[in-house]
Subunit: 137 residues, 2 copies
């Protein structure tokens, strides 16, 4: 949990990538505070995000940069990039239009564990778009 002091209380941005060269990034709606999705960035994705102002991730399944919205059109305009105490996680405060999850919901977190169960989920959101009209599925 504890990292060197200069990492925790310094002003040098020193993102700590994991063994795969990746750092998790939480996309949070800058207006509502809703957490929209969690993905990974490599250094190139982070640098391109900072340079362009639009969120760029690294797709572990496709093994390449993932410019959010390049297929769906649902780009994320990045207002702020926050880092945590030990600099191994990022938050992107983003402005979005609608439908950030490829399943059709505004957020990827559209289900919760049922209060009366440890292995059942219930939906807490409704779809905001039809993914079949956006993606070739």
């Amino acid at each position: 949990m504890s990292a060197p002091k200069e990492i925790e209380i310094g002003t040098k941005f020193n993102p700590r990538y994991n063994e795969q060269g990746l750092i998790p990034a939480i996309a949070q709606d800058a207006g509502t505070g809703e957490v929209l999705m969690v993905a990974f960035m490599n250094e190139q994705a982070l640098m391109e995000t900072i340079a362009t102002g639009n969120a760029v991730y690294y797709s572990r399944s496709r093994k390449k940069l993932w410019r959010k919205g390049e297929e769906s059109g649902h780009v994320q305009k990045v207002n702020e990039i926050l880092t945590d105490c030990d600099q191994d996680c990022l938050i992107l405060k983003v402005e979005v239009d609608a439908g950030q999850c490829h399943v059709g919901y505004q957020s990827c977190f559209y289900r919760r564990v049922r209060p009366d169960s440890k292995d059942e989920l219930e939906f807490i959101a409704k779809p905001v778009y039809d993914p079949q009209k956006v993606y070739d599925k």
Copy 2:
């Protein structure tokens, strides 16, 4: 990105742990929406969290369960547990008192990348407690 359909649109809670048996969990203030911290859970931590209603994580550095607040007193009362589309990440909606970060801030995300720089941070929060009075440091 895409997972089997039953993972994405089913109601079976089937958390997907990584190769180390861990799943990342975002603690989000249930009231304000502020993201407080990101940590990992193993299956035992998740089950204990569900059973007790207080957040339990797995400390990778100490290699054991980390009952949040056991040392600091800053427990997290868990109102809801959300999972994302491919069930490889969790959000805990928590009620907290103050000071969730061991550095002394309410949130671990107390710095942001300076808008005019790609490698400098600036502080966006003020400490809410003195960690030296809480931890043996």
